[in-house]
């Protein structure tokens, strides 16, 4: 957990040169392993491909939310935040849906009664994309928004989960200027 934290912090400030160095180190490790234990590399590649395809298939399904958000799933790096607002749940739900789209995420699932939103970020050069889960609940006159950004596939998020949260909050704050 501590290593993951430091790696995330490290990659938050990443530059192109850092990424190249990391990629080069990774390649050196793989090539060294390939010479000494080729079966291990093939096994790792097969396992990675299987996990990638599995994640790809279940990504947009709400049923697999526990898989992506579980704190015991070390294959998907994730970031959680909780914010409170004094807006009614139904208005906040619609607002969050609007904000997610404005922030550049694609809303895949929206359940107004349950207050659940599922969105995905786009695949880029640095990332396979992240899954965004927003839960809106009402309790004691306040509306709570639980935000979770989970890597679609990756032990380290490269700081993208935090960036997703910041992007969503910034869009939300800006959208309050009507």
């Amino acid at each position: 957990m501590l290593i993951k934290y430091y790696l995330n912090n490290f990659f938050m400030k990443k530059s192109v040169s850092t990424s190249v160095i990391i990629f080069a180190l990774f390649m050196v490790v793989i090539l060294t392993l390939q010479k000494k234990a080729p079966e291990l590399v093939i096994g790792m590649a097969v396992l990675s491909t299987f996990l990638f395809l599995f994640s790809m298939i279940v990504r947009n399904s709400i049923s697999f939310k526990p898989y992506f958000t579980s704190r015991y799933n070390v294959l998907t790096s994730k970031v959680r935040h909780q914010v409170e607002y004094d807006l009614p749940k139904d208005i906040l739900f619609e607002k969050m849906k609007e904000v997610l789209t404005e922030a550049g995420f694609k809303v895949r699932h929206a359940d107004k009664d349950a207050g659940i939103l599922v969105a995905t970020s786009a695949i880029s050069l640095y990332s396979w994309g992240e899954n965004i889960y927003v839960d809106i609940t009402e309790s004691s006159g306040k509306t709570k928004v639980d935000f979770c950004s989970a890597c679609f596939f990756g032990i380290v998020s490269w700081g993208r989960n935090e960036k997703n949260y910041e992007r969503m909050m910034e869009t939300f704050e800006n959208s309050l200027i009507i």
Partner: protein, 72 residues
């Protein structure tokens, strides 16, 4: 909050629904609801102008300053 939005009062006077106002002003119903509940952070002059035009009123009819005794 010191500034109170009396949008619901003006809408009731003009017998206009949130849907109608949203269509005329070009602002989403969600945003108008937030504005109506005085939960917005700020209002653009363009939005204020459009609301005044739609409701045939003055900005002072929609916005009201109330001294709540809070110095902050």
């Amino acid at each position: 909050m010191s500034i109170i939005v009396n949008l619901d009062v003006m809408m009731a006077r003009r017998k206009m629904s949130l849907n109608e106002l949203s269509e005329q002003v070009g602002v989403s119903i969600v945003n108008l609801s937030i504005l109506k509940q005085s939960k917005g952070k700020a209002i653009r002059f363009s939005t204020l102008g459009a609301v005044c035009k739609a409701l045939n009123c003055q900005p002072g009819d929609i916005l009201e300053y109330k001294d709540d005794g809070d110095d902050g």
